[in-house]
């Protein structure tokens, strides 16, 4: 149901930004699906689905271009994985030798490590599938990043976590600034007649770059302080003590429950403890929120498109996980002996459900420059 400006949320009519949480849930759904398979056809299908939705629904802000960067990063990961497979060999036993590299003799204590030697088709194929899976996971994160900047996601954190969220945002904006600084200082080396290429050039600007980053963070901290960051409402001592105790107990519960769940066999007590732990932590955060005087300016609404987008991601994840139990051979194509992967129809159809956001998500507002 569309809400009016009275409650402060943005209107659900017309072009608007989808709630960032919905995009991240959708992308994490795709990533969960990708983590279940090594079938390159399914993986490429997931990349295609993510790419199509990004192309259809991204805005024109600078971070919207990050999908391309993550795509390149994915290819790099794949390439690195392949190079390692060639150089260090592969755990997969293979019989079809493609070529043989000269093997480096290693001393006894390095038994089990091999450098060089025979490169088998099976080993390469295994590395390719594995690398592609990792690349797909990265690309899913890249899609979320392009569709909703992580700092928008962090704006939605509960009041008690707000300050931690700001620290994360500041850290994230520093990465691009650092890259720009390194570039600027490397070109300054050129102005001094020194070479601007190579590792030495990058390393030698380290100190000035750090100094610059430090100065910027001090300037930002001053700016935030003068704009009221960290103003707190007075709370009774009992409340702040209760907050600390609840949060601590809750987190302890969550941690031990995770341990129980991951332990072989799984402990029966773990799941209820997890729920209780989460509830206690939540209560701690709500209490902690009392200290914060902050209000939220036009929070993004969570309306039907948000349900559909996040739902489509979760359905993709759920169906893929279910199918992976039913068709294990299609989800993990045989490497030894190598066989051509086939595209399982039903799981492929399930992945295609991830295209739903390209239709149901609202157009992002575009600014005319």
């Amino acid at each position: 149901m569309p809400r009016t400006a009275k409650s402060g949320t943005r209107s659900t009519f017309g072009p608007r930004q989808l709630h960032p949480g919905a995009w991240w849930l959708w992308a994490l759904g795709l990533a969960a699906a990708a983590s279940r398979t090594t079938n390159p056809l399914l993986l490429l299908l997931i990349v295609g689905v993510a790419g199509y939705v990004v192309a259809a629904r991204r805005g024109d802000a600078p971070w919207s271009r990050s999908y391309g960067a993550f795509l390149k990063l994915g290819l790099l990961v794949l390439a690195v994985r392949m190079v390692f497979a060639v150089l260090l060999g592969s755990p997969v036993p293979g019989s079809q030798v493609l070529f043989t590299l000269p093997e480096l003799p290693l001393p006894d204590w390095a038994r089990g490590v091999r450098i060089g030697g025979a490169v088998t088709l099976e080993g390469l194929l295994f590395a390719f599938y594995d690398g592609l899976k990792l690349a797909t996971l990265l690309i899913c994160v890249g899609a979320a990043n392009a569709l909703a900047s992580p700092s928008r996601l962090l704006r939605g954190l509960p009041g008690a976590l707000y300050e931690a969220g700001v620290a994360v945002v500041v850290a994230m904006t520093f990465a691009p600034n650092l890259v720009a600084d390194v570039q600027r200082l490397r070109s300054a080396r050129r102005l001094r007649g020194r070479s601007d290429r190579g590792v030495v050039a990058v390393l030698s600007v380290g100190l000035p770059v750090l100094e610059g980053a430090l100065e910027r963070s001090v300037a930002l901290a001053a700016s935030m302080d003068t704009r009221g960051f960290g103003r707190t409402a007075p709370v009774p001592r009992r409340v702040s003590r209760a907050t600390a105790v609840l949060t601590l107990l809750g987190l302890l519960g969550v941690c031990s429950a995770c341990y129980g769940l991951l332990a072989p066999g799984g402990a029966p007590w773990a799941f209820p403890v997890l729920l209780v732990g989460l509830a206690v932590t939540g209560a701690g955060l709500v209490l902690g929120g009392r200290r914060a005087v902050r209000t939220r300016y036009r929070p993004d609404p969570w309306a039907l498109p948000e349900w559909l987008v996040s739902g489509s991601g979760l359905v993709v994840a759920g169906l893929t996980i279910w199918f992976s139990g039913r068709y294990p051979e299609a989800f993990a194509p045989s490497v030894v002996p190598p066989a051509a992967p086939t595209l399982p129809l039903l799981p492929a159809a399930a992945v295609l459900l991830g295209l739903l956001p390209s239709v149901v998500a609202p157009e992002p507002p575009r600014s005319t420059p």
Binding site: G8, W63, S149, R192, G230, Y297, S367
Partner: protein
């Protein structure tokens, strides 16, 4: 509104207190301009109002500063956030969020205002500052002037009674600076905001001030008074004031308009006594750019630029922020690869040359000279420069001794003043004896004295046969120095010719003296005084 009661500030490592005996009151609803040479404590004084001094910077504050009755010693900056808005030189350092609308709302969110109030004030502020069509834009994609307006807007939304600005226009081109100052004036007129503004480029702001607070530095007491009175004795003053003093006008005009109304007799007296225009530099070009196009990412930064630099010529490169000035300098030093056309510097193609050879042909002092200085001390810096340039040991130190006579050898380059740092960077560049020297925005952050020294140094270089190209927003500097002025817009040359002709025909780039007298050939106060000597 703001009361200083015997205020002094001393930083821990400093021998002298930065401020001493400041005892005055800034009334409500006035635009108070803070002037003074570099190092006279302007930023510190502004900091005591916002509470950053001493809560954030450390140091020892004596006396009392009260803003609307709140003592800034007892209130941390965040507790003054609803009362004092602070904007610095670099808007990018100020931004916490990443879009215009969120940035405007950030301060109100911190103060916990109700959603309806926030919504209304964001809309009002968007209109007040003319930002409505930019509301959804990413802050990084805005121009410098737009960013500075957003920064001002982001502190205005909490309706502060006092606005504190530290050199808000120093990074802006003349047009964008006008934009920002117009907004400030509107705030004072419409909202009754008290504005405390520090600025080096007085020619841009002094006519808007209701009151001027002069910090003379060197331990002399501050002076607060009517702008014309203070300007009559101030060591820092804009060209219009210098002209008024030279012509003996009283009361002293502060705006071009007032001066023009008084200038009739002076104009008559000077007509026909304009100095001869310096003949254009001749000789073979030492650097030449032909039909140059450069792309930076997807954006074409330069499109078909022609330029030749000849020995002994000083050329000014002007144009708004983002017009391609820095890119052109970068192309001349080989930082950017031409996508079409040619660049030749001393017979080399810069982007294909080895840095070691290139620095003998061309040197660039970047916008922030700190980028160029890696050393731990002035002495180390000089030794490194000699080594880089394969010059005789001591060459750079000799240059420093000439350009910067009394600098302490052991100081860290970061501890020098802006002007000293610029000169040190220039000396480092000159060590390799390049015939072409490029300066990117050299007067940013310089006071009038430092600027005067820079003018002398550059003139000497040109007289010694160097070709100088300076990219600048400072119209007064271009008028004073440049023989030739090139104006860029959107990567194309829109004007190129002798400085007097180019700047007089353009209202944005004309220096104050030219606007007042409108006599060909008379651009600076210096030229006017010399012409006056000739007439008498």
């Amino acid at each position: 509104m703001i009361t200083f009661d015997q205020v002094g500030v001393r930083y821990a490592e400093a021998a002298e207190p930065t401020l001493r005996g400041v005892d005055l009151t800034v009334p409500e609803g006035e635009l108070c301009l803070l002037v003074g040479p570099s190092g006279s404590g302007k930023s510190t004084l502004l900091g005591t109002v916002s509470g950053l001094v001493p809560h954030f910077t450390g140091g020892e504050l004596t006396g009392r500063v009260t803003v609307d009755g709140r003592d800034t010693r007892d209130h941390r900056p965040r507790e003054l956030a609803d009362l004092v808005g602070t904007v610095g030189q670099d808007p990018v350092a100020h931004f916490v969020t990443d879009t215009v609308e969120d940035e405007l709302a950030y301060g109100m969110e911190s103060l916990g205002l109700a959603p309806e109030v926030m919504r209304r004030r964001v809309e009002e502020t968007l209109d007040l500052l003319g930002l409505a069509e930019l509301r959804g834009r990413a802050l990084r994609s805005l121009s410098g002037g737009q960013q500075q307006r957003v920064a001002i807007g982001s502190v205005l939304t909490v309706h502060p009674k006092v606005l504190v600005l530290d050199e808000p226009t120093s990074a802006l081109d003349p047009g964008a600076a006008e934009e920002v100052l117009a907004v400030l004036q509107r705030l004072v007129h419409d909202l009754g905001t008290t504005v405390l503004l520090a600025e080096h480029r007085l020619e841009r702001v002094v006519q808007y001030a209701d009151r001027v607070l002069l910090l003379p530095g060197r331990g002399e007491p501050p002076v607060l008074g009517e702008p014309a009175e203070v300007m009559a004795h101030s060591p820092v003053h804009p060209p219009v004031v210098a002209l008024g003093r030279a012509a003996g006008w009283s009361p002293l005009p502060l705006s071009v308009r007032d001066a023009r109304r008084k200038a009739g007799p002076l104009r008559d007296r000077l007509a026909g006594h304009a100095p001869a225009v310096a003949p254009p530099a001749t000789g073979e070009p030492v650097a030449e750019v032909r039909r140059l196009a450069v792309r930076r990412g997807p954006v074409p930064a330069l499109r078909g630029v022609d330029l030749a630099l000849r020995p002994g010529g000083i050329t000014a490169l002007m144009g708004r922020n983002g017009a391609g000035k820095s890119t052109l300098l970068g192309a001349l030093i080989g930082l950017h690869r031409p996508s079409a056309g040619t660049v030749r510097v001393g017979g080399l193609e810069p982007h294909r040359s080895r840095p070691k050879e290139l620095i003998r042909r061309v040197g660039l002092v970047p916008q922030d000279p700190r980028d160029l200085l890696f050393g731990e001390s002035v002495r180390a810096e000089c030794a490194a420069a000699d080594q880089d340039a394969e010059a005789d040991p001591g060459s750079c130190r000799a240059l420093v001794a000439r350009l910067l006579p009394d600098v302490d050898d052991t100081l860290h380059p970061r501890d020098l003043s802006e002007g000293q740092r610029l000169t040190l960077a220039l000396a480092v560049v000159l060590t390799a004896r390049p015939p072409v020297i490029l300066l990117d925005e050299p007067t940013r952050g310089l006071d009038y004295a430092a600027k005067g020294r820079l003018v002398e140094v550059v003139r000497e270089l040109a007289a010694a046969g160097h070709a100088v190209l300076l990219a600048t927003h400072d119209v007064e500097l271009a008028a004073e120095l440049a023989h030739r002025t090139v104006v860029l817009a959107e990567g194309e040359v829109v004007a190129d010719g002798p400085t007097p002709e180019v700047v007089i025909s353009s209202p944005a780039f004309a220096p104050q003296v030219a606007k007042i007298l409108n006599l060909p050939g008379l651009l600076t106060v210096d030229q006017v005084t010399r012409a006056l000597e000739r007439t008498s």
